[in-house]
C-alpha cells in the first residue's frame, strides 16, 4: 500500500492462458512488427499509482507467482511457479483509470519515468523468481513482457481466463 492514504500503489489483473502473443515493436516503413509469445501460463496486466516505490515489488512478485490461480492437468489449483507456467507481463496504464462523467481520468497514475523504472525492476524480479522456481523441473518456462509506453497489441487464447484483480 502507498504510505499516504491506504490507496493501492499498484493494480494488477491476472488471466490464465494457453497461449498469449504481444507486440513489442510496431511495424515501421522497412521493418515488420515484432512479437513475444508464451504458451501455458499467466498474463499479468500491471499499472503503478503515484507513491509506488521499489519496496513493494518483491512482495508483489512473490504473491503473483505463488498464489494458486492455475489449474493443473489434474484439476488441482497450483501457482504459476508450481505449474510451472510462463508469464507475460503487459504494462497497462488504463488500469489506473477512474470514471468521471463519460470519461476516464488517470490522475493517480505514476509518472512515465517512475513507472518505467518500477516496471523494469518488476520484470527482472519476475524473471529471477520464476527461473529459480522452475530450476530442475526441466520445464521450459519463460517471462516475456511488453514495451512500456507502447500500444499493447495482444492475442489471448484461454481454457478459461479466470480473471483476478490484485492490488498492492
Amino acid at each position: 500500500m502507498s504510505a499516504t492514504d491506504g490507496a493501492p500503489a499498484a493494480r494488477t489483473v491476472l488471466q490464465q492462458c494457453l497461449r498469449a502473443q504481444l507486440q513489442v515493436s510496431p511495424a515501421g516503413d522497412q521493418t515488420e512488427a515484432q512479437f513475444v509469445q508464451i504458451d501455458r501460463g499467466m498474463v499479468i496486466y500491471i499499472c503503478f499509482f503515484k507513491g509506488a516505490s521499489e519496496q513493494i515489488l518483491q512482495k508483489m512478485v512473490s504473491t503473483l507467482l505463488n498464489v494458486r490461480l492455475c489449474e493443473s492437468s489434474s484439476g488441482k489449483l497450483v501457482s504459476v511457479s508450481e505449474l510451472p507456467g510462463s508469464v507475460l507481463i503487459v504494462p497497462q496504464a488504463t488500469l489506473g483509470g477512474k470514471v468521471k462523467g463519460r470519461s476516464m481520468q488517470y490522475h493517480n497514475n505514476i509518472s512515465k519515468e517512475d513507472g518505467l523504472r518500477l516496471y523494469t525492476t518488476f520484470v527482472s524480479l519476475c524473471e529471477k523468481e520464476l527461473t529459480a522456481a522452475s530450476a530442475g523441473s526441466g520445464a521450459e518456462v519463460t517471462v516475456k513482457h511488453g514495451t512500456y509506453g507502447n500500444r499493447q497489441v495482444l492475442q489471448l487464447d484461454t481454457n478459461g481466463p479466470y480473471t483476478h484483480l490484485m492490488e498492492f
Copy 2:
C-alpha cells in the same frame, strides 16, 4: 454501491477487442462445443458481490456502454455505443477473489442463484440499450454472452485491450 459498508456490489473488467470468441456450451459425447463471437467491440467480465441488487443494473449498463473507452478509426475516444461496437459479456466469479495466504477466497461473492438472476437482467439491459443506441446507424452490432456458471473458454484478439476496472 452496496447499502451496508461502501464495498462494491459489482466488479467489472473491460477489454477492447477486434474479435472475441467464447464457448457457451462444452463438447458432449455426441455434440460439438458451441461458441458465440463478436468482432470489433468490448468484452465485459462481470462479478456480483453479496448485497448486489437489481437497482444497480441500469446505472451499470448506462455507464459501461457510454464511457469513452474505445478508439474510433480517427483515433478519437468514443463509447462502445458510439463506435458502434458489439459487446461480449463474460460471467467471471474469480474477479471477486481476495488473496489469503497463497489462496484466493471468494467469501464476498453473491450466491449462484442471485448472481444468475442479476446476470440475466444485466444481459437483457445491455441488449436493450445497445440496440437502441445503434438503431439507425446501419451497423451490425450485437450483445453476446457466456453461460453463467460454465467454464469461460475465451479467445481474444485485440489492437490494444485497454484494460479497465470499474466497480459499482
